[in-house]
Symmetry: T
Subunit: 71 residues, 12 copies
Amino acid sequence: MGKVAKVIELVGESSSGWQEAMEDAVQEAHKTVDNITGVEVTNWTATVENGKVNEYKVDVKIAFGVDSNRR
Amino acid sequence: MGKVAKVIELVGESSSGWQEAMEDAVQEAHKTVDNITGVEVTNWTATVENGKVNEYKVDVKIAFGVDSNRR
Amino acid sequence: MGKVAKVIELVGESSSGWQEAMEDAVQEAHKTVDNITGVEVTNWTATVENGKVNEYKVDVKIAFGVDSNRR
Amino acid sequence: MGKVAKVIELVGESSSGWQEAMEDAVQEAHKTVDNITGVEVTNWTATVENGKVNEYKVDVKIAFGVDSNRR
Amino acid sequence: MGKVAKVIELVGESSSGWQEAMEDAVQEAHKTVDNITGVEVTNWTATVENGKVNEYKVDVKIAFGVDSNRR
Amino acid sequence: MGKVAKVIELVGESSSGWQEAMEDAVQEAHKTVDNITGVEVTNWTATVENGKVNEYKVDVKIAFGVDSNRR
Amino acid sequence: MGKVAKVIELVGESSSGWQEAMEDAVQEAHKTVDNITGVEVTNWTATVENGKVNEYKVDVKIAFGVDSNRR
Amino acid sequence: MGKVAKVIELVGESSSGWQEAMEDAVQEAHKTVDNITGVEVTNWTATVENGKVNEYKVDVKIAFGVDSNRR
Amino acid sequence: MGKVAKVIELVGESSSGWQEAMEDAVQEAHKTVDNITGVEVTNWTATVENGKVNEYKVDVKIAFGVDSNRR
Amino acid sequence: MGKVAKVIELVGESSSGWQEAMEDAVQEAHKTVDNITGVEVTNWTATVENGKVNEYKVDVKIAFGVDSNRR
Amino acid sequence: MGKVAKVIELVGESSSGWQEAMEDAVQEAHKTVDNITGVEVTNWTATVENGKVNEYKVDVKIAFGVDSNRR
Amino acid sequence: MGKVAKVIELVGESSSGWQEAMEDAVQEAHKTVDNITGVEVTNWTATVENGKVNEYKVDVKIAFGVDSNRR
């Protein structure tokens, strides 16, 4: 049987920038998922306060390999 | 590190109406997930029998905060 | 309360064809999920080597019924 | 041979609300079509007069089973 | 009960231009449908021969009022 | 010269339901804009607290006639 | 006047595979429509029972030439 | 600081054709906005009466340069 | 083996109108490509100066037959 | 009555990068609008000269709270 | 500098089936392009004659690695 | 005759970040194409190893002016 991957959707958030927000989401997913292979950003937003960006946010889809004993 | 949220997709169903179908999905998710913050409806359908709506259905995306000990 | 279904996203892969790739994803999901009711293919790709298709891949959404004791 | 369904597109309209507008469209279709099985709303609009909603309107897709003698 | 409209999809074709292709589709629909109220173009294509446009084509959605005695 | 309409985008919010959220947005727009003719909902969300919907929200596009002296 | 085509939407279903589901829909349409020229698949789904695909389903758009005496 | 443009959405209408409908919208916007740089058509419709097109309509997005003293 | 076509994307531009902009793009492609069979417009824009349209622009996809000796 | 927000569309531009282009747009909007709460990027482009990026550009949607005395 | 891939769009056609139509397109591209790595199907159509499918067609995007000496 | 531009699709890749991945694609295109005028990013992904981003990747569309002697 061929390989199967699972895809989950997270929202990352960082005050430093969008790239960091994505990396935070990957790092958080990595705590409970072993074989992350890729990530895609599907939405880019930010919260604003007093005319300045407060938090950068990204919607990400994270793919990881599935083995039968765990998912 | 910034906060991370997870997004899951459910299909709610109710014979009363679409708003109730969405609320059922949120209530069901709340049984196993603590910090639900928001919900988005992405699809609105209904099943029909004898020319009358039988069940209202909604596809929903539900977002909830993730802490490191649980997900 | 009405019924609630959950939807997960997998990527199936097979060297035989796209239909087999989808069936692999369903079979893999079936190992940990009881009540799969349907599947939708949202993306069709293949990897290519030396001008020949190597692996057929499909992104699938798999829906299954949720009962309160398990998800 | 497997079953075949047909899908038609209607616009329902009601002064009471969107759910009623959808139900009007289903009821109207039911006058000439026997086996309606489902409906999907693809667009939600309303006409406005003097700052108040006048008519709620929905674009709906209605599916019904086809038998060979009639369509 | 509110009013209900039906929407059908046609492809118009004209060697004169896209506007004429749309008008041909409306005129053709008018032969069998009485109360056409509007039209929307969803796709614009043309066939080409010897580097020149041969036929302009448009995919159109045509809406018309439905009365219970006819559809 | 033909008539021209303008389209603005608002987000309505209500604790009662989505229809009320849309109507709030129309009512608010009506305070500064005279000739609102229609509204379209493009997005349906809700905020959730303790497993219950807190505020229903809709993204709406509101169209109104423009006359040259005011916009 | 240029030629006009009509487009209808069907859902084909087959236990053999997606290609057969599409061909069933075309064959069913052919019973009442003479000049089918093309078909497009817009959605691919399947129903699942006990972890195995039960019925393959496709949403199809079928185009056919219109002559003035019949539609 | 870099330049900033604003984008507004209008609906133009003309009995002559779609191109004229777009030009009407630009001309109307030009009465109150100085630096229009471009326009994009996102939707093409027409109203129909007695099987003939009555008014051509276009949804347009109009972009114009912003300076700090005015907007 | 079946026939294969290639699809390229161009942007046509004309001060006369959108139809001419599309025809310019086809004519330009025809200089280096022999067997153009069709064209699709995917985007309609215009540049504006002093409240008047300056240049009409279209994004087009142009398809042409491929033979093995040339591409 | 619930709260209402307004959404406007701007295009930001910066020679430093996309994040700066978005921040320029927010800053410019902040000059005339008080309560900006969020921003979403919907399009990412850049102008190029001599093989090097000249200006980074983003299409942004900016949301801000509306009070009845001002908009 | 990182690696760069190029993506081209073809239309494959086969009387045997969609999978074969895709493989024909890949094989044709392989005649002039060395390093094809992947393929994605974005559109599925077929031509029909006398109620039977004549030719299966797929729109495909084909990606291949670029080296500086050739493209 | 108006000006014509061509649009090609590349995938850029960089271990430094998304902006660099886009710039690599532009630079690579610049080796064989003279008059690049703009670039648009349509997809943002990254490969991940051991919970860390390995390569940032962007799908880009690159536009360049066409003159008749070369393309």
